[in-house]
């Protein structure tokens, strides 16, 4: 019975399975508030099952990966899937062996938050912005000549190539995570690293928030020929005021009433919807 509680080892096959599931689910469940976190959960699900034999730990892990997450599929998704897999493995082992749990929930979370934005920038520029169009540009003359290869070559080529190096990133991410985790477990710099990751994670979250949360007023008043553009006035006060207000409002709602996400979404939808309907937002 106690034997049963030991985390199983994560194999190469597990890793590939995770990568494939991530690759497949990718933007299917894309949602306004969490972006594509469910895809990451789907990717990790079987691994987490192998690692956490205790339902409470498993549940916590499931919820962890349903949190806000967005990145580019290959560079970001591959690398992070790998890293997170190894971090979860280390964490599961620490829990099972009753060791001090240095790979905390926050550490895993902040690692994701800290990496996802920068890797998305890399991936979007390289994969979507460059590699894709190199394939297309090569095949374009074939299409202009009426050949179906003009369509098939860029699609198959790009898909294949990115799949392959995405998996490479997954494996490397896993190794990287293992190496880091091993050092972390023993190292006494652990607290420092956790704190550093928290700072970085929250910093990147702020940057991401500034571009993902878009709330602006379209309200204008034209009295006797003078135009009052509300958004201009707000920008003269504090650019970013409205999105920040919305974020903080929900933050304080959670602080006061507990984490009631559905309520927050319905409430926010209602408020924004009404304001938008009356052309205030």
């Amino acid at each position: 019975m106690s034997k049963n509680m030991t985390p199983e080892k994560i194999t190469q096959k597990d890793l590939h399975g995770a990568w494939f599931r991530w690759w497949w689910a990718n933007e299917v469940p894309h949602a306004f508030d969490r972006y594509i976190s469910p895809s990451l959960l789907l990717a990790l699900m079987p691994l987490l099952r192998k690692l956490y034999k205790n339902d409470d730990d498993l549940r916590e892990a499931y919820h962890r990966h349903l949190m806000f997450f967005n990145t580019q599929a290959i560079w970001g998704g591959g690398t992070i899937t790998g890293i997170v897999a190894s971090l979860e493995e280390t964490r599961a082992n620490q829990i099972a062996n009753n060791e001090e749990v240095t790979v905390t929930h926050d550490l895993i979370n902040n690692t994701k938050l800290g990496l996802m934005g920068a890797l998305a920038g890399i991936g979007d520029a390289i994969d979507s912005g460059t590699v894709q169009y190199i394939f297309i540009a090569i095949a374009l003359p074939w299409a202009q000549a009426g050949s179906p290869m003009g369509s098939l070559f860029p699609w198959i080529g790009f898909t294949l190539v990115t799949y392959l190096y995405g998996y490479y990133f997954t494996r490397n991410g896993y190794k990287l995570g293992r190496a880091a985790a091993t050092e972390l477990v023993s190292g006494k710099k652990m607290t420092a690293i956790i704190e550093g990751l928290s700072v970085l994670g929250l910093f990147m979250m702020g940057i991401i928030a500034s571009s993902y949360v878009k709330v602006a007023s379209v309200f204008t008043l034209n009295i006797s020929g003078k135009e009052f553009v509300l958004q201009n006035i707000l920008d003269g006060l504090l650019p970013g005021l409205l999105p920040f207000t919305v974020i903080m409002a929900i933050y304080f709602y959670f602080s006061k009433k507990g984490i009631k996400v559905t309520n927050a979404i319905l409430g926010l939808t209602a408020v924004l919807g009404v304001l938008a309907w009356f052309n205030i937002l």
Partner: protein
């Protein structure tokens, strides 16, 4: 236009599959570039070589399109699915055909956002299934339901546009009530990320560290005209984090 019901349906299904992203990352090029859609239309209509030539012309219009972080105004796959038949049947130039397809591409973009909106509620289901450790439920709510929703959104629209003609859709898109609805949808969509972000910030360990969130948030607004890249911010954030740790921990020894 003179597409048969079956032809129109086949094309509609293909577009819905692409827009649902149901084939994973393999749908990225399919969504951003008109090439595959053009080929499929050619196959369905039995006029592949001509379709390829037209599609190559459309590709030039959409060269360089990418959608960091989500949606874009006009969906290339959607617009192409209309433009290629139009060009084939009405013997138009590719760019003229695109002009006709634009309102449908626009509607395609709104539907993509609407899909995000509906998924926002589907995730509540995932939350529940996660709580219950119900893996089947998770598969259903993460993959199954969103794909079904996508098809429900795109198939009728594409079919109608293909069968009854693009103007049919254009009228709807331009109608006052619907454009106001789209406005509401995009405002709500623009704001809902706040929930996910507030949640992430809320669950962090040390409450004081929210100051770094605030710093980054307003810094990003201050520096907006300088076009700072995400990786540069990551470097600066890491530097900040390192100095913070240096100052609070390491310098203590």
């Amino acid at each position: 236009m003179e597409l048969t019901v079956v032809q129109a349906l086949l094309i509609a299904l293909f577009v819905a599959a692409v827009q649902s992203r149901g084939l994973g990352y393999a749908t990225l090029t399919m969504r951003f570039s008109p090439m595959m859609t053009g080929l499929v239309v050619g196959l369905v209509m039995g006029r592949v070589p001509e379709a390829m030539v037209i599609t190559a012309g459309i590709q030039l219009v959409y060269m360089g399109v990418i959608a960091p972080g989500g949606s874009m105004p006009s969906e290339p796959a959607v617009a192409t699915a209309i433009a290629v038949p139009v060009a084939l049947l009405a013997k138009m130039e590719p760019y003229e055909a695109i002009a006709i397809a634009i309102p449908v591409g626009l509607l395609g973009g709104y539907l993509y956002q609407f899909r995000f909106f509906l998924n926002t509620f589907i995730i509540r289901l995932s939350d529940k299934f996660a709580e219950e450790l119900n893996d089947k439920g998770l598969w259903f709510s993460i993959m199954g339901l969103p794909i079904i929703v996508s098809f429900a959104l795109y198939v009728p629209v594409m079919f109608l546009a293909l069968y009854y003609g693009a103007p049919f859709i254009a009228e709807f898109t331009a109608a006052n009530a619907s454009s106001q609805l789209f406005h509401v949808l995009s405002v709500v969509g623009g704001g809902l990320a706040a929930v996910g972000i507030a949640l992430s910030v809320h669950v962090i360990g040390k409450k004081e560290y929210i100051v770094f969130f605030i710093l980054a948030f307003f810094l990003a607004y201050v520096l907006k005209p300088l076009g700072v890249t995400m990786i540069t911010y990551a470097v600066l954030g890491s530097v900040l984090a390192f100095i913070y740790v240096l100052v609070t921990r390491l310098s203590k020894d």
